[in-house]
Symmetry: none
Subunit: 421 residues, 2 copies
């Protein structure tokens, strides 16, 4: 069964608002096992909306429209959809009474155009709106189903979850489940090459790769008669991906971010953390601090933008800065060691680099970043050459620092464990 | 002249990501005076993408597609669009060289599928990608223009602003100009009320308000035969807004962010800055450090998440922490004073609060944040009660800290100046 989404509103065409209903409805429909091939945004215009709805009805089983149900003259989704579906609009008394009550409760008088909202397509299933005055409607036709929903997310979401989701669930017998394998420290095209055979041979489950800054996510999606059966199809593929990417996979949980995976490692091993940042200027700490409960392990950090600050707060030697410069392997190493020592932490990460747009030279170009990580006295330094604008370089450096921290902690503990045996 | 937007990506149809490119491109195109009647989201599927592109070319002058230009097998936007437009794909040597350099700089080997990105439609105008490997392309046809852009916003946005915007501006004879009046420290509904009469009576120019975290932007837009005529229409409205919002307007320049306005004030007055952050964990510094040239005034910062760190790095008194707690007016004040003293700066900002989800009490609920700012020995502390999740509370605190810094610096200098007279 296929679903098609139509979003009605000139404000979307003008870019005045971001279409968050798009992702919301799409995700909900996918979870219900409805296949979706098109979404359209169209303005509050009868002719173009009619054309869009007719096209959608011609190729999809269910068409969901959102927006344009309000009381103003601009709002013509219901009128247009009813016309396309050959339905007359009739006064719906319970809705009229609800609108009367809505205004009375607020000590207000409804204006004439509020009654427009109580005119509903004959024979339609009315979807009560508990968070506004415009009800939604389901029209069941010979060639498909049309569902009209209000545009404001705080009206659309509860209406969808209370009334539309159960309605659609009854129509479909299939469910779609997915699992995301999250990889750090492997480039997108390398990751793609590593799973090319799986993509070429995919059926059910399907697999798809998504690039994020410093990360690649591989989504495995299966459809089946129930969640259990879908997960049974997904599991072997996730296992295969685990065998290929090994330790580069930091999580297969939807809610686990890279920074959370690092925080979890620190908490599990009771390691305190300190960050020493130059070009990232607090971004690394800020990402880590966004993990709830981080206060257990993250105690302090410093942003040492100037050379003086690197010396004062981290004990970087004057000679090191003079001989190798602030952006160097040696400075990064001393920053990380100094952070553990002076900020009294078990683990530290230090970042120093040239984020641009100025400050680059032929020898040390914009994008050159050194990242060091100390774990209980063992320090690793890596050189990176990132591209992009100032913000992109800094974001890439933060992801690389998190990846390096994760790697160093894992390595330290695997060695300790093996050493003891 | 009409424009139509097509967003390619199965992840959009599955609802895995929100289509932020939609609002971005729509707003940019509207500002260029291009009329837009349809946007479509379609998956990485040759047949459906061809159908969508043909429909768009049949009814719009310019079709912009974003997404699906990457190196993987899924990415077939370029191949499909070239076929629909009757163009062969040929190896573009400069792009090939750029990809070679990109990988060489990183000490990596390109994989075979990377070369796919250098195959471009014959006769197309190549749009260099400075933030990734996939270039964009403009194809000029008899019946219209097709523009292919990469999907990741950090690649699409700079490419659009550097190359596509000037290209499109040359095509349209009517120009649309806009000026954004940027306001901090005034809530959205208050701002809205303050300009309601202007919105109700608007013609050419139009005015629209946009709420950002801790900021409100009012966009004044006029269309005219040339830029000069448009600006003549805009100026009186901007003047009116300035008289209503006064000092709460931090800029009317497109490229000036709130953090840049603070950085500019610091640089102009030769004031060095230090930040002391608890719940924001580096976010405030990170925003300031994203301003190029900040190193002139920003020397260092500390993230003092634990009480111990607040004492060690900022000299907050043990008694203060015991009596009033870490989240208190008194602690914030001592943090700011300590930051100036111990980090040797003229100006400091300190943030301490409860970002949640845990840690709140009836007396000190989640969202309670104290922000202090010291300017040459004069310290101001403000209490805030923010709502939203952990990230939103932290972002609100950062905006409020920047607003407070701006206010305190302005106040200090107006007093100094007036005092001397």
């Amino acid at each position: 069964m296929t679903v098609e989404l139509i979003f009605v509103g000139t404000e979307l065409l003008l870019g005045s608002i971001v279409n968050t209903n798009g992702a919301y409805l799409a995700e909900k429909c996918a979870a219900l096992g409805l296949a979706s091939y098109f979404q359209t945004v169209v303005g509050d215009n009868e002719e173009r909306l009619s054309q869009t709805l007719r096209t959608a009805l011609g190729r999809s089983d269910v068409v969901i429209l959102s927006g344009g149900l309000g009381p103003t003259e601009d709002d013509l989704t219901k009128e247009t959809a009813a016309k396309v579906c050959g339905k007359a609009l009739v006064m719906h008394e319970p809705t009229k009474a609800a609108i009367e009550k809505f205004f009375k409760d607020r000590g207000l008088e409804p204006t004439k155009n509020n009654w427009k909202q109580a005119m509903l397509p004959e024979g339609g299933i009315v979807l009560e709106n508990h968070n506004g005055t415009a009800p939604g409607v389901v029209m069941e036709l010979e060639n498909g189903r049309v569902i009209l929903l209000p545009g404001p997310p705080n009206e659309l979401r509860p209406m969808f979850e209370e009334l539309v989701e159960p309605y659609l669930a009854r129509l479909t017998s299939q469910v779609i489940c997915s699992r995301t394998v999250k990889i750090c420290g492997v480039g997108e095209s390398k990751a793609e090459t590593m799973v090319k055979d799986l993509i070429d041979g995919q059926g059910n489950p399907t697999i798809a790769t998504y690039a994020k800054t410093g990360e690649v996510h591989i989504r495995v999606t299966a459809s089946a008669e129930d969640e259990k059966a879908a997960m049974k199809l997904i599991k072997p593929m996730v296992k295969e991906l685990k065998s290929r990417f090994g330790n580069d996979i930091y999580s297969t949980e939807e809610e686990t971010t890279l920074e959370k995976s690092v925080a979890d490692l620190l908490v599990a091993n009771k390691l305190t953390l300190a960050c020493a940042e130059s070009c990232t200027g607090g971004m690394l700490s800020a990402r880590l601090v966004n993990v709830p409960g981080i206060s257990e392990v993250y105690k302090s950090g410093v942003i040492t933008y100037s050379n003086k600050a690197k010396r004062r707060f981290l004990g970087v030697k004057k000679g090191t800065l003079q001989k190798h410069g602030a952006v160097s392997r040696q400075t990064a190493e001393e920053m990380a060691k100094g952070a553990c020592l002076m900020l009294k932490a078990d683990v530290s990460a230090a970042v120093t680099g040239i984020a641009g747009p100025d400050g680059g030279t032929a020898e040390k170009p914009v994008g050159l970043v050194y990242i060091a990580c100390s774990v209980k006295g063992k320090t690793t330094v890596k050189e990176f050459r990132f591209s992009g604008n100032r913000e992109k370089i800094r974001e890439s450096a933060v992801s690389a620092a998190l990846t390096l921290m994760r790697g160093c902690i894992l390595e330290y503990y695997s060695k300790v464990t093996f050493g003891k045996k």
